[in-house]
Amino acid sequence: MAQTNSHLTLLSDLTPPSLERTWLTSPHPTLPIVATCSSDKTVRIYSLTNFKLLSTITGGHKRSVRTAAWKPHISGESVLATGSFDATVGIWRRWDNYGATNTTEENHTNLTEGADDADTEDEEWRFAVLLDGHDSEVKSVSWSPSGMLLATCARDKSIWIWEDLDDGDNNFETVAVMQEHGGDVKCVSWHPVEECLASAGYDDTIRLWREDLDDWGQVACIKGHAGTVWFLDWEGVDTTPASAAGAVSADLQRQWCEQVSLSGPRLVSCSDDRTARIWRRVPKESVSGTALSSAATGIPSIIRPTGTDENWEEDACLPHAHELAIYSVAWSRRTGLIASVGADGRIVLYEERFVEGGPSTDAGADAGADAGADAMDTTDDAAPVQSSSLRTEWSIVAVVDGAHGIYEINHAAWAKRADRGSESTSTSTSPNEEEVLVTTADDGSVKVWSFQR
């Protein structure tokens, strides 16, 4: 099962911790900082360089802050969206060079009145605007890959898409409100490159949404979990499965990559049913009958032409490793590793590996295979009739029990390693930068882990 030479090592706690439950920690897309959402109504900004608290964003929300996301692709300024149980979404801004150079009055003119009382201690964080629209607790927020669109979701079963007009006046326009979910929408997550939104929730479904002729609509509804779907994350665009050096022929690998690029990035989901599953879009070319795809999604295509419907199928179910609900999954866009955490206080890391041949469950066999192209000729007798029999298998590479002591872990996220120890401990031969895993728990603790092989 788990390789004995792979392990997750605690680098540090983020200090000082919140004294109340923390729900989620969002790593900044470029800077070595993270934002941690707390039940004490604040968001804490910590450094990944020295693991210390940099500032605390207070005063914006009247109840627990449940979620936060950094706007991508902006320079010179950081923009954070926060979602709270008070049903509102807050937008916060800070100049990245704050303290280095004198910030001017530019863009300061549109601070919402009444928000200033929050700025006494941490004046560098400016409360920009409050997005009002949801009827109940906001559970998740996500910026589109371009940063132009913000998706939010709530217990009111709705998903809102807002456009950041970027007009210097902090104006956001409601682009769409989708209400197809049958219960709380627990999570929204944008595709890494396309304007395609995935959502999941209390109705046990995962849904995908795209814009078609100026109108946002559901293109797929995945019913594969037997409980609330808590979290979603997308695969990166360029990750390829690991394989023992040379165990799988380059040709087969290339074929696999071509297949995958037709489907696009996959989606991983985790649920109250204690499973984490991976979903793959069936390429249009392989679905000849459009009626078939409509039937598979279970959505009557009265309004939308069947041409926009997508067929998503289960690609894999990750090895069973959690005894209670899985609250979060994180798919590394750099290494392709998946991490899962949940109510059992356990962190589990999974790795995808190429497996050649039939449905063998002996993942260790590939280690002994010959290097180079010879591997193609050494497929065993059990190989299926299909010529390209390359497939992948997920295996557990690390498990940490009681990672936050007795407490439940609510969230996990990958971030670029930024502390001083990063050079010396890096043994990775890949060109990828070293990563850390950031986990967030019920007691307010946030821990930073490094993974070694």
Partner: protein
């Protein structure tokens, strides 16, 4: 409560509810006959959990103790306790290791099965939430709560169970002033 849903519930005598002496006896050492508190007529005189916080951390916690924590919660529509109405009962409480495959894991799961007085009781969720809140506030954090409607005793049991098992909904409910007032009222008889 606009309308009493079950106007004639079965009521148990407080003195007949299972109990035991709270002396220095080791847990598991039951004593149903000489319990000094069994004779106390006023439920408000029962030991509150607050005075026992230290003990809770030290001593193993058993089913009787869980029952004692929740039996005095008031029913939201009757001037009676959940124990008296047999909404909660000792045989429907169990404590098990949460992670049986992890040696030395301190995590334990407390399962409380709730029997609503009538199968369509719309207050089942509130009662379940009250029980869960009571346990979360009284027990150390190494306990995982599993509060659910006893199978076959409620028309929408699965729905209620899903809500009660949803950590995020429970957390949000605790920040809901109106709902917490109802819960606080139910808890008054516990203190």
């Amino acid at each position: 409560m606009a309308e009493v849903q079950n106007s004639n519930p079965t009521i148990l005598n407080v003195a007949d509810l299972p109990t035991r002496s709270r002396s220095t006896k080791k847990s598991g050492d039951y004593d149903y006959t000489s319990g000094i508190f069994a004779a106390v007529p006023n439920p408000a005189d029962f030991l509150s959990s607050d005075s026992e916080d230290d003990d809770l951390l030290e001593e193993p916690i058993d089913e009787q103790e869980i029952f004692d924590l929740i039996k005095l919660i008031s029913d939201p529509e009757h001037p009676l306790s959940l124990g008296e109405l047999a909404v909660v009962s000792l045989p429907d409480i169990s404590i098990k290791p949460t992670l049986p495959n992890v040696p030395n894991s301190p995590l334990q799961t407390v399962t409380v099965l709730i029997t609503p007085t009538i199968t369509h009781c719309s207050l089942a969720t509130v009662i379940g939430l009250g029980v869960r809140v009571r346990l979360e506030q009284s027990l150390p954090p190494r306990f995982r709560m599993d509060v659910r409607i006893k199978e076959g005793t409620h028309s929408t049991g699965d729905e209620v169970n899903k809500q009660l098992g949803d950590k995020e909904r429970v957390a949000a409910a605790l920040e809901n002033g109106a709902l917490m007032q109802v819960i606080a009222k139910m808890m008054e008889t516990c203190r």
